[in-house]
């Protein structure tokens, strides 16, 4: 009996300890940090939070994150943000960080997620070298893009950087020719030929060219744009108020009108002639 009691207590304790461990178990949170510099203007940082749930990675919304420059000491705090439904948190690098930013040609950014019931505190960092992209065009529709990096205080060409030259469209970018990616030469430049002659532009035929460096280990994400009049002019043709089956009253399709009115005229013509027949019968009756 005593032996059974021991066994029962051991099992009970095991169950309790498993339950406690289960309660304390937290998922691993994976944080990544990306640096963006669009059009050499205001730079911003994007943190991605994801975790493996049910055997697959899922974006985690609602994670409080803090962004830092250089290191995660409180004095270097750039700002705080919360991840959205896509697990992304954004932060524009504030003007207050200018002094720290100007100190060096290379910078380190750190993102730290706040510990919660589900996730432990997690850190991620990104080291970047300050760089910029320039884009230029010629009259014979050639595009030249140059990547420059900051060395001490001077901008020097960056060699061997993968670069995309594309046309900016609503749902994504369209390559200017069959080449997907270009690599900069010793002058930090690439040249691409524009081969999308019939692409629709705006009302003046303007299209936006974009040169971008994506997820580069050294420079982060860089892009620059230029508007050129190389597209075909967009002619806006309004189909509002045309004759359709779904148009307003009076704007019915001609074929419908012809068919419907023909039927009405023929049928009612017959009926009216039959009314005259009654009148004829009446007259014949009065003559008798």
């Amino acid at each position: 009996m005593k032996k059974h009691n021991h066994l029962f207590i051991t099992l009970l304790l095991s169950c309790i300890s498993v339950a406690v461990i289960a309660q304390d178990a937290k998922n691993d949170l994976s944080l990544t940090l990306s640096y963006f510099n669009n059009n050499n203007q205001v730079q911003y940082l994007v943190a991605h939070a994801k975790s493996k749930i049910d055997g697959r990675f899922q974006m985690i919304p609602g994670i409080n994150v803090s962004f830092f420059i250089t290191n995660d000491s409180s004095g270097n705090l750039l700002g705080k943000s919360v991840t959205n439904d896509k697990g992304e948190a954004f932060l524009l690098i504030p003007p207050t960080a200018k002094e720290q930013w100007n100190k060096s040609a290379k910078q380190t950014f750190v993102v730290v997620s706040q510990a919660s019931k589900l996730y432990d505190e997690t850190k991620a960092s990104s080291d970047i070298t300050k760089a910029k992209v320039k884009i230029d065009t010629t009259d014979d529709r050639k595009i030249t893009a140059t990547v420059l990096e900051l060395k001490d205080t001077a901008w020097v060409p960056a060699k061997g950087v993968d670069l995309k030259i594309a046309i900016k469209r609503l749902d994504g970018d369209l390559n200017v020719n069959e080449t997907q990616t270009f690599t900069t030469d010793s002058t930090g430049s690439i040249t691409a030929e524009f081969k999308r002659d019939s692409i629709p532009g705006d009302i003046n035929g303007n299209i936006t060219l974009i040169a971008k460096v994506e997820d580069n280990d050294t420079y982060g994400n860089l892009s620059t744009e230029k508007i050129v009049p190389w597209g075909s002019k967009f002619q806006y043709v309004s189909n509002f108020d045309e004759r359709t089956l779904f148009a307003r009253r009076g704007k019915f399709p001609i074929w419908l009108g012809v068919i419907a009115y023909s039927i009405i005229i023929v049928v009612w013509g017959i009926l009216i002639s039959l009314i005259f027949d009654i009148v004829k019968i009446k007259k014949l009756g009065q003559e008798v």
Partner: protein, 435 residues
């Protein structure tokens, strides 16, 4: 043919005054109409909120009733036009019954549409601002046309009978005699008049067939041009027309039995008529059953997600009892009864006809309501009453009142005019004797 024989036919077929049963029947119908009218007055003063129609079920029992009336009105074209054009002589005693059913039904189809409107005072806007592209406008045009043709088709064959009726002033009374004079005193049975009248009847018989097809096809398009589970079908026009012929023929068989029994017309509406109409009814029931199988089996085989809930609701769910009741009473039982020779005797045929009419009314309800309760987007955050539909007492009263109104028109017509054409019966008898 001897004059005494003609006299006998005429006397047999003259309209008869209401007996005790007839008066009770008229009073009963009048009471139902008055209750319906009171309910409609309540609806007019309080608005459509007195009905059970809400955001989802915006077409309830009124539109079901409308479709039923339109369907039964099709019988005019079947019995009068199709059978007349194909020289089916046995149909003569049934033509006027069919025509008056048509007129009564199409009249109340038009009325019930106005009843369904929340603001009937704005009805005229349908004509002023109607869009030619809308099947609703086509329905308005085609119903008006069909009503007009039905009235003419009732009137032209009535002219020779009016002349006969004028000779029986003592029997018919002064009031009715004035009416007969107004309607047909000019008919002198001259060859020229007969020629014009026969030509007019032939033209009407030809015209009414496409219009009859159009009226029910357009009514089906009110549903089929809407993208909804249960209505999204290319089969709908033919499905509606076959159903309309069935209910119309069923209605004629019921009316044949009632008039035969009440006015003692056994010599004119014979067992042979029931036998033939029974065969017609079986054929139409089989045809409608075929269309029903098409209409339900094909989507059920695919069971698309959007259709699934609606179909399961009909087969085994909320509407299963009503659905199988409609299929059984409108098609299966009438086929089983009428396929046997004994089943085509007057009384069993009357039972089969009644089943067809009742089942067909329920079938129209099933065409309208379950679809509206199964929209593509799920019903969310709505009161529970929006999720189900059961007509309020006002809706029942108005619907029953309208059915009573249609029966009242038929009853009063039979009181005023001969329900079996006298002149045609005499002419045909003479022709038979000559032959």
């Amino acid at each position: 043919m001897e004059n005494s024989a003609k006299q006998k036919i005429t006397e047999d077929l003259l309209p008869q005054k209401f007996g005790k049963q007839g008066k009770i029947w008229v009073a009963f119908l009048l009471i139902l109409c008055i209750i319906g009218f009171i309910a409609y007055c309540r609806q007019l003063s309080k608005g459509l909120i007195v009905t059970s129609m809400r955001d989802y079920v915006s077409w309830g029992i009124y539109i079901s009733n409308f479709v039923f009336f339109v369907a039964i009105s099709l019988v005019g074209s079947l019995i009068t036009a199709v059978l007349r054009l194909t020289n089916v002589e046995w149909s003569t005693p049934l033509t006027r019954i069919a025509e008056i059913i048509s007129v009564a039904a199409i009249t109340f189809a038009a009325i019930i549409i106005v009843v369904d409107m929340g603001r009937p005072d704005r009805f005229y806007n349908l004509f002023i601002h109607g869009r030619l592209q809308s099947p609703i406008i086509w329905d308005v045009i085609v119903i008006t046309t069909y009503f007009f043709i039905s009235i003419l088709l009732l009137y032209f064959p009535l002219l020779p009978d009016l002349q006969i009726l004028l000779r029986f002033k003592e029997k018919t009374g002064n009031g009715l005699n004035k009416l007969y004079k107004f309607l047909g005193s000019f008919w002198k049975n001259t060859p020229a008049q007969i020629k014009i009248s026969n030509k007019a009847i032939s033209i009407l018989c030809i015209t009414i067939i496409p219009i009859a097809f159009a009226i029910h096809t357009v009514t089906s398009w009110l549903f089929a041009t809407t993208y909804r589970p249960g209505w999204d079908s290319t089969n709908f026009g033919a499905y509606f027309i076959s159903g309309a012929f069935l209910v119309g023929a069923g209605g004629v068989v019921v009316a044949m039995y009632v008039f035969r029994k009440h006015y003692k017309l056994e010599k004119y509406i014979t067992e042979d008529h029931f036998d033939k109409m029974g065969k017609v009814l079986v054929m139409l029931a089989l045809l409608y059953l075929y269309f029903n199988i098409n209409e339900f089996l094909v989507p059920a085989f695919k069971m698309k997600k959007s259709e699934k809930e609606h179909l399961i609701g009909l087969f085994t769910g909320e509407f299963a009892v009503v659905f199988w009741f409609a299929i059984t009473t409108a098609m299966i039982l009438p086929i089983l009864i009428l396929i046997l020779k004994k089943g085509r005797k007057p009384f069993p045929a009357f039972i089969a006809g009644t089943l067809v009419v009742i089942g067909s009314w329920v079938k129209r309800y099933l065409i309208v309501t379950p679809t509206l309760l199964h929209p593509f987007l799920p019903m969310q955050d709505v009161p529970n009453e929006y999720r189900h539909y059961f007509p309020s007492w006002e809706e029942w009263a108005i619907a029953i009142g309208s059915l009573a109104g249609a029966l009242l028109i038929i009853t009063l017509f039979a009181r005023i005019f001969p329900i079996i054409p006298i002149h045609e019966t005499i002419t045909e008898t003479e022709e038979h004797e000559k032959a």
